[in-house]
């Protein structure tokens, strides 16, 4: 193999990394370069420095250390049987690329993942070394997200946690059966235990130490995971119940859903289809309802016998249409947890309504000014100057609130 330039490697190893959905650079501890006179800062919420025409934000330099891999996961562009071009960065190349990009304000930091070469520990050790050089040798204070290799030794994960803002371990697919079928060499049990260990390590470190009363800095951005949606036959109900289990069990900051997407040189096992982008979007909405709107997983998926989310309307509207007996709600009296269930009312708007309510009654005009779109809200509420009367019972309510079918801009 002829020697590849850094640029050629970057082309291969960015292409190889793009199927990882996570790009978040938030949740890091506050940090800056004022004292170190190096570069870099993290201030809570991350910044998206660019957007690709796929609508995804580019916040981090998201690359693989190498796309050589001993695993043969059917859905993955880097599986060992794939004929894609292979490349491998040196530790130095990744460090320099990160610093060069950061200094030009192209990025918030580095998201480093890797195919597994030879042994999990050898690969993980190189990733940790990159993080160490950035943090220690270059006094770099920007964001670092490392994708942990589940089989890597405890000691390496421990070191990774000292340098990284976030660690993640992909569960790959929503069910164990899916993993066995499509990623036969991966062990869901090992992945679960790795996430469990990471949780307990993060919790241990967040206890103030006896001597200094200071908390050690250990993965301040917590852990996250990703699962591929649409590569196997798992229903949305099962996907969301896996998510609920992961959030509760391992205290994950985020579960990412990645619509299975065509890859160059696909496997014969998985016939390629257009990525189910709307399904992915609905899953994120449902995930949000579980985490911030007080919905239970079962409520969200109870509406349909096939266990799938409605693709035409968002999950909150779908729930409201199926539970019309709860409505209309009086916006001047209903408690917060119920107002959060009104289609079209977000958490911010609800909090503003509650603040106004303490001083004066809410009229329908007030709501018109507070909500982005009042049309969706109206059938479900009573306000001064407004009652939906029989609107709620109308047969065609769903049709009226369903946005006209739009040509999806996929192809």
């Amino acid at each position: 193999m002829s020697k590849l330039s850094t640029r050629e490697k970057l082309a291969i190893l960015a292409d190889a990394a793009k199927y990882d959905a996570s790009c978040a650079s938030s949740g890091a501890a506050g940090r800056n370069s004022l004292k170190t006179k190096g570069i870099g800062s993290t201030e809570g919420s991350g910044i998206c420095h660019s957007y690709a025409p796929d609508g995804r934000c580019i916040s981090l330099l998201k690359i693989l250390l190498t796309n050589f891999c001993i695993y043969d996961c059917a859905y993955c562009v880097n599986r060992s049987s794939s004929n894609v071009k292979r490349a491998r960065f040196t530790v130095e190349e990744v460090v320099n690329l990160t610093l060069d990009f950061y200094k030009r304000n192209y990025i918030e930091g580095l998201f480093l993942s890797s195919g597994v070469i030879r042994s999990p520990d050898e690969t993980m050790a190189e990733m940790v070394e990159i993080a160490r050089r950035l943090r220690i040798d270059h006094a770099y204070q920007g964001y670092i997200h490392l994708k942990t290799i589940p089989e890597a030794s405890d000691d390496l994960v421990e070191q990774a946690g000292l340098y990284a803002d976030r660690l993640s371990i992909n569960v790959e697919l929503p069910t164990d059966a899916g993993v066995h079928q499509l990623a036969p060499q991966k062990k869901p049990e090992t992945i679960r235990v790795s996430m469990a260990r990471l949780r307990s390590r993060i919790e241990e470190r967040s206890e103030p130490t006896m001597r200094t009363k200071k908390r050690a800095r250990f993965v301040p951005g917590g852990q996250s995971t990703q699962m591929i949606v649409g590569a196997d036959a798992t229903t949305d109900a099962d996907i969301l119940s896996t998510s609920a289990r992961l959030y509760a069990g391992y205290r994950l900051r985020r579960v990412y859903y990645s619509a299975f997407s065509p890859i160059p040189d696909s496997s014969a096992v998985l016939p390629l289809v257009k990525p189910p982008l709307m399904r992915e979007h609905r899953l994120y909405q449902a995930d949000w309802l579980m985490r911030f709107y007080g919905f239970e997983r079962q409520e969200i998926t109870a509406g349909r016998a096939d266990g799938m989310l409605d693709l035409e309307v968002d999950p909150k509207l779908a729930w409201a249409l199926a539970n019309r007996h709860v409505f209309p709600l009086d916006v001047n009296r209903a408690p917060r947890e119920l107002l959060l269930r009104v289609p079209g009312l977000g958490a911010k708007v609800v909090d503003r309504m509650l603040a106004v309510r303490r001083h004066q009654r809410l009229r329908i005009e007030d709501l018109g000014r507070l909500c982005a779109s009042i049309a969706k809200v109206r059938p479900f509420i009573v306000a001064d100057g407004w009652s939906p009367r029989s609107l709620l019972d109308e047969e065609n309510l769903r049709a009226r609130l369903t946005p006209p079918a739009r040509q999806l801009s996929l192809f």
């Binding site: 995804r56 469990a196 609920a244 069990g249 040189d265 990525p275 985490r291 106004v356």
Partner: protein, 479 residues
């Protein structure tokens, strides 16, 4: 009387505050004030002296207003001063006005603030530094076109982030420079004053083109977050039209291409690493250690699906007493060890008081996987049902078979049911021994988590005493 106030610059918040305070205390109507900035070229406007504040008059405004006003003063809308003044006047009558999010002026304020904050955010995102090297010294220069007067306000962010660099950001209205020690502000500039291209741009463009997934084209989503007005100063934006044009055929190409033969190195990897079938534990366990390994892959009931791992018993095979609990909890499931959570702590404390050494005990559970219901960030314990208890007896029986203890302590109803094969009223029978048909003596007591669930402190303490008495009895029974 009409007043004309001249502020020293577009972002002169202090000047506005001084003037607004004096005018509002005199109840001057908003319509009677003309607001100008020193940079306006209005020769006909003569500044009017401000009225003196009435004696003893005070004005209090909520912090929320000050915060918003400081942001909104940076907006480019010339009406912002008047809007802020209107709100200030209105707050004299309605002190809680800022809470009325539906008030038209409060909304207008929020919209302006949002626009300024967005501009600040986008500047942090889209400034692109170009490296300029004069000999040994490197500097970084950027050209940016903000919508509002945000350069001064935003400069500290760039200092915090790029403290170790020497940099300059040029904008049409102001420029800012950091020399590693000090910030300085200067006049506006033009794009021609900024260096053109950076050597790293080629790498960055390579990254941009390759991180894009043509199968997920969503141009509107991109433009919503990265409006076209920014594109002319973003090196990567020149690639966008071609990426969009080529996306459809690139995606179709991936879909239509037939799967190829596996890569040449694939067979070698398969042979070297994955050809040996995974080593399965023997069907018939010859020791407690083998039994433990078998149990790791237990599928005798569906509880494994949601749990992290099998939590097997722990302790020496030579143990004379075996303690049996109900099932692992959240902490045990994470750690893979029995009795390490809150109930385990109570257990440890009490047996220590009773003089029993945990190291000499074998501690296990009737059910080896954690049964729970996820609720937000917690997992709520659920009682295992009779079928699950029965399925898991397979393991408990074998554990007891290897250890052959003198005494088994059943803690709680589930353990008793598993050990005795039938439901037992624990509260009535605690402290007693039931001898099984096979001669094994089973001592009955409560589960230590029962103590933790008693809300009333005195009652919980009394229950703990009873549990301690039970443990003391166990100590005696074991000799």
């Amino acid at each position: 009387m009409r007043f004309t106030v001249t502020l020293s610059g577009e972002t002169d918040f202090n000047g506005w505050r001084e003037a607004a305070r004096a005018l509002a205390l005199n109840d001057v109507k908003a319509g009677d004030i003309g607001w100008r900035t020193g940079e306006d070229q209005d020769l006909f406007a003569n500044p009017t002296p401000l009225p003196a504040a009435p004696e003893g008059a005070t004005m209090n405004v909520p912090r929320a207003f000050i915060d918003k006003a400081q942001a909104v003063i940076c907006h480019s809308d010339p009406h912002r001063f008047a809007l802020l003044y209107r709100l200030l006047l209105a707050m004299r009558k309605t002190p809680h006005l800022m809470k009325i999010a539906s008030d038209p002026d409060v909304m207008a304020l929020r919209d302006l603030e949002k626009s300024v904050r967005r501009d600040i955010h986008k500047m942090r995102a889209f400034v692109r530094f170009v490296r300029v090297s004069d000999g040994s010294h490197e500097r970084f220069v950027a050209w940016f076109e903000p919508d509002h007067y945000i350069v001064e306000g935003n400069a500290p962010f760039f200092v915090r982030r790029f403290a170790g660099m020497h940099w300059t950001i040029l904008t049409p209205h102001r420029s800012v420079q950091w020399n590693g020690e000090r910030l300085s502000f200067g006049e506006g500039a033009t794009k021609a004053d900024a260096p053109k291209e950076d050597a790293s741009d080629a790498l960055w463009k390579t990254y941009f083109a390759n991180i894009f997934n043509p199968a997920r084209l969503k141009v509107k989503a991109m433009e919503a977050e990265m409006p076209k007005k920014y594109w002319r100063n973003l090196p990567e934006a020149s690639l966008i039209p071609d990426l969009i044009k080529g996306a459809e055929s690139a995606a179709r190409d991936m879909l239509e291409r037939m799967p190829t033969m596996p890569a040449p190195h694939h067979a070698k990897i398969q042979e070297r690493l994955w050809s040996a079938p995974p080593e399965a534990p023997p069907d018939d366990a010859k020791s407690l250690g083998e039994l433990r390994r078998q149990a790791e892959g237990c599928r005798r009931c569906p509880l494994w699906q949601d749990a992290t791992q099998t939590v097997f018993g722990e302790g020496p095979e030579s143990a004379r007493i075996v303690f049996v609990g109900e099932q692992p909890g959240d902490q045990e499931d994470i750690a893979g060890k029995p009795f390490v959570g809150p109930a385990g702590k109570v257990f440890d404390e009490v047996i220590e008081e009773a003089g029993i050494e945990r190291q000499k005990l074998y501690v296990t559970n009737a059910v080896k996987h954690f049964k729970f219901e996820p609720r937000g960030k917690r997992r709520i314990h659920q009682k295992p049902n009779a079928g699950e208890v029965k399925a898991c007896r397979w393991w408990l029986d074998q554990e007891l078979g290897f250890i052959k203890p003198d005494l088994v302590v059943a803690m709680g109803a589930t353990a008793a049911q598993s050990l005795l094969g039938k439901a037992v009223p624990i509260t009535r029978m605690r402290g007693t021994i039931v001898t099984r048909d096979d001669g094994l003596r089973v001592f009955l007591t409560i589960h230590p988590s029962f103590i933790l669930r008693i809300p009333e402190a005195a009652e919980a303490q009394a229950e703990r005493e009873r549990f301690l008495a039970d443990m003391q009895q166990v100590k005696e029974l074991a000799g």
